[in-house]
């Protein structure tokens, strides 16, 4: 019913419906000038997307019956538009010209979306209709209301200074920013330049709300220029940069398509041999140490070794919110049968390799809850702190360093108990790959030696 007509057959994008705005409102003027600018640029109707916000400015959609219109929610217009532009630029043909129609309310609610779009240099154009108050809801003041201005909620005059979008946009590295009056004759030129600009462009258009701004302040549009300039808000094209490239252009260069296919299978690196396990029932091991000392990696190696040995496995990691300080803990549950409940009542082995780890297992009560025949293994520096006479004390940190202590403890545990083959650990390191492969190989070899010299404190 509404196929887009080619631009050559339409001297205007405006339809026959009259603008719904109050007599004298700048919104209608801007609408006409936007249309003129788009026609002058020779845009195809199908490439234009008009994204509108909430407020009187959100009534613009039906005025342009032949072009795509997206009416959004309050303040979010520029974020929805940015998403469409990014998808079009990165994944589509990049022809989209997205023009966002927003008022001063939408601009304050959506200030983060606007600043982010400017920082990213999303290729879109924002027409900020600044009439210095919220017209549709009864003339309340906004963050754009100048000091001294009267609104329905500042009856004695506003005394908070108005936000200066030029400087907000400058701080966000916007490539193009202009401040204009709706009535200025060259607004068409500026809108056309902004739409053609390859990147984020904003025009703040100063208007006076005829419903509230005019009667409450006993002024007319002619006073707008002087009022803005008196507050240091200059008019004209204030930012025009040539040194920024649109986000999608840089993105496509950095991340060219044709990489990983849709259903990429991971490198299988299937082991040559099947490893054996001697586990008759589920078993839970806890490895506890310090953040940054590869405790969770040790858990991952153990888990992968168990999987290579035909066991079912669940690994959970725990750490304080700081991530880089305090404890780090890996809880690994192994079972010859499928695992349903992933928690554990009583751990079968607790391996503690640092003071942070000791504090954490004490707090959790792991040693107290431990199975009667459980294995308790600790670095020599903290073994006494576990308060148990069955702790196996080892010079893990001294012999294997802090980074090797956790994997060393796992290796010793397996070497001594024999429920997995230590070779499965070594194979797991190869399967996992990555930067630590060489040092983990060495750690496992050294820890196997250590396993045989372990002694009780």
């Amino acid at each position: 019913m509404n196929p887009v007509k080619p631009a050559t057959s339409v001297p205007t994008f405006l339809g026959s419906q009259p603008a719904p705005y109050c007599k004298g409102c700048g919104h209608g003027t801007v609408t006409r000038k936007l249309n003129e600018a788009m026609v002058r640029l020779g845009l195809d109707a199908s490439q234009i997307v008009l994204t509108s916000d909430i407020g009187c400015v959100g009534l613009v959609d039906p005025l342009f019956p032949g072009i795509h219109t997206v009416h959004t929610i309050h303040g979010r217009s520029s974020a929805v538009a940015a998403g469409a532009v990014l998808a079009d630029g990165i994944l589509g043909d990049g022809r989209m010209k997205n023009v966002v129609m927003i008022g001063d309310g939408g601009a304050t609610i959506g200030l983060l979306h606007l600043s982010q779009a400017a920082l990213m240099n999303v290729d879109m154009t924002v027409l900020l209709h600044n009439n210095m108050l919220y017209g549709m809801t009864g003339g309340q003041h906004s963050a754009f209301t100048p000091d001294g201005f009267h609104t329905s909620t500042t009856p004695r005059g506003n005394w908070i200074p108005a936000i200066d979008m030029e400087h907000v946009m400058r701080g966000c590295q916007a490539g193009y920013f202009a401040r204009k009056l709706a009535t200025e004759a060259d607004l068409v030129d500026v809108i056309a330049e902004a739409i053609a600009y390859p990147g984020f462009a904003m025009i703040e258009i100063l208007e006076l709300c005829t419903g509230f701004g005019v009667p409450l302040n006993k002024m007319d549009g002619k006073a707008l220029r002087a009022m803005a300039e008196a507050r240091g808000h200059a008019l004209g094209v204030l930012i025009r940069r040539a040194d920024r490239r649109p986000y999608h252009t840089v993105y496509r260069e950095r991340f060219p398509s044709g990489g990983e296919p849709a259903n990429a299978k991971p490198a299988t690196a299937a082991p040559d041999r099947v490893f054996r396990h001697r586990l008759q029932k589920p078993m839970t091991l806890i490895v506890a140490g310090s953040a940054g000392e590869k405790v969770q990696t040790a858990g991952a190696v153990l888990s992968q070794a168990a999987v290579l040995s035909g066991l079912y496995c669940v690994q959970k990691n725990d750490y304080p919110v700081t991530v880089g300080s305090g404890f780090s803990l890996a809880e690994v549950k192994l079972s010859p049968e499928p695992i349903l409940y992933t928690g554990t009542d009583a751990p079968d082995a607790v391996l503690v390799v640092s003071v942070d780890g000791l504090d954490e297992v004490r707090g959790r009560g792991d040693v107290r809850r431990m199975a009667r025949d459980g294995v308790l293994l600790a670095d020599e520096s903290i073994a006494a702190g576990l308060g148990s006479d069955r702790v196996v004390s080892l010079p893990l940190r001294r012999e294997l360093s802090g980074d090797g202590a956790a994997l060393g403890a796992v290796t010793v545990m397996i070497e001594r108990s024999g429920f997995l083959e230590c070779d499965a650990l070594a194979q797991a390191v190869e399967v996992l790959g990555g930067r630590g492969t060489v040092s983990m190989r060495k750690t496992i070899a050294a820890a196997r030696e250590l396993a045989h010299v372990a002694a009780k404190p």
Binding site: T69, I90, L91, G92, E260, P266, P338
Partner: protein
């Protein structure tokens, strides 16, 4: 439910990683996120994998931006996803309603943690069940799926995308910290095959913004910046996408948003069952707790009891037929979930008022099989 595998191609994968695997398999080409524990791994993994193929992964300055970017991308015709946790979801709700009203397909992954407020970032919870389903004003049904294993994370993400496309509506994948952040063996070379479904494209000649004959029909989709002129709005609108108040066609459009989902309730219903003939008790659960519930049932049976288990993979629309069938002839029905007062139990009571539901609830830790068995 197949919580583990032991093939040589098996790798340890978290639920969060498998959400991304499922998304890519479903055709997701746009992700936007803002970090929040326990969902951050989805953000990182999606970024790495999408960028590696030249697809779009865009960091957002907040959760509202993240969802709005996804909405814009989907309106451009691209399958999109974001991921968050309770506090981020709270911010997204208005934009989510906009996606529902504008019939914009997308997937929101909500990885629950302990609430309210900031709650416990690294503590599990299942407290967002109703916040997810009933975040929309007006009484609309939002499809919500809840995985309990990494494998289900993959499959249900694919299902979430498929249903969001088929229904042209936003769909929520309701995960939780324990499912999202626990690593488990997954046979990556032999993942189950799920067909890829996409929104029906509109034809120019017959296009209206909201085209349906029967109220439950799903309107064909046209992308912005495409050859068919598109009119989108989040305000009440007629079939031309124009703002209207209370005229019959507008009310039809509003009813249609619900009807298109409800009409497909039985197809949307996904459950896992382990029912025992003549069972005295049934436990109903979802997400991580359903695993403890299933184990409780197996332990109970080993001790000579007759027990049934029903795991809900689809939370909403409630798989009410499966629920009634499982509860038939059972003396006691227990709903196990990790929140204070039994949120899903409340929803079940609403759709099956003839069943007397009992709750097993807990805060701040996983419910264990013994606690469920005690209630059965």
């Amino acid at each position: 439910m197949e919580p583990g595998v032991t093939r040589s191609t098996a790798r340890m994968r978290s639920g969060n990683q498998m959400v991304v695997e499922g998304a890519l398999r479903a055709g997701c080409r746009f992700f936007s996120g803002y970090p929040i524990t326990p969902a951050s791994e989805i953000y990182r993994e999606a970024t790495m994998r999408l960028q590696a193929r030249g697809d779009a992964a865009v960091g957002a300055p907040d959760e509202i931006s993240a969802l709005c970017y996804c909405i814009g991308a989907s309106q451009r015709g691209v399958k999109s996803m974001t991921a968050t946790s309770g506090p981020g979801w709270a911010l997204m709700i208005e934009s989510f309603q906009y996606a529902l009203m504008s019939e914009t397909p997308l997937v929101v992954v909500l990885v629950q943690r302990l609430g309210p407020s900031t709650g416990g970032a690294t503590q599990g919870g299942q407290g967002d069940v109703l916040l997810a389903e009933f975040a929309t004003s007006g009484g609309y049904t939002v499809p919500v799926f809840a995985p309990s294993t990494p494998l289900e994370c993959c499959e249900l993400t694919q299902q979430a995308f498929n249903w969001s496309e088929v229904l042209r509506c936003p769909v929520i994948l309701l995960s939780d910290k324990e499912v999202g952040m626990s690593y488990e063996a997954v046979d990556m070379a032999n993942l189950p095959s799920v067909p890829v479904l996409s929104r029906q494209p509109a034809v120019a000649e017959s296009y209206r913004a909201v085209q349906f004959d029967a109220i439950e029909d799903v309107p064909p989709f046209a992308a912005v910046a495409g050859p068919i002129k598109v009119t989108v709005t989040g305000s009440a609108h007629n079939k031309d996408g124009r703002l209207r108040k209370n005229d019959p066609e507008t009310l039809d459009v509003l009813r249609h948003l619900e009807a298109k989902v409800i009409a497909r309730s039985s197809d949307l219903a996904m459950v896992t069952r382990d029912l025992q003939p003549g069972a005295e008790s049934l436990v109903v659960s979802f997400g991580v707790t359903s695993r403890a519930a299933h184990e409780a049932v197996l332990r109970g049976r080993a001790a000579g009891r007759r027990l049934s288990f029903l795991g809900m993979q689809t939370l909403f629309p409630v798989p009410v037929d499966a629920l009634r069938a499982a509860a038939s002839g059972v003396r006691r029905v227990v709903v196990a979930e990790e929140n204070l007062s039994g949120l899903y139990r409340l929803a079940l009571s609403g759709v099956a008022p003839e069943i007397a539901f009992h709750g097993v609830n807990k805060l701040g830790g996983m419910i264990c099989p013994a606690e469920i068995l005690e209630a059965l």
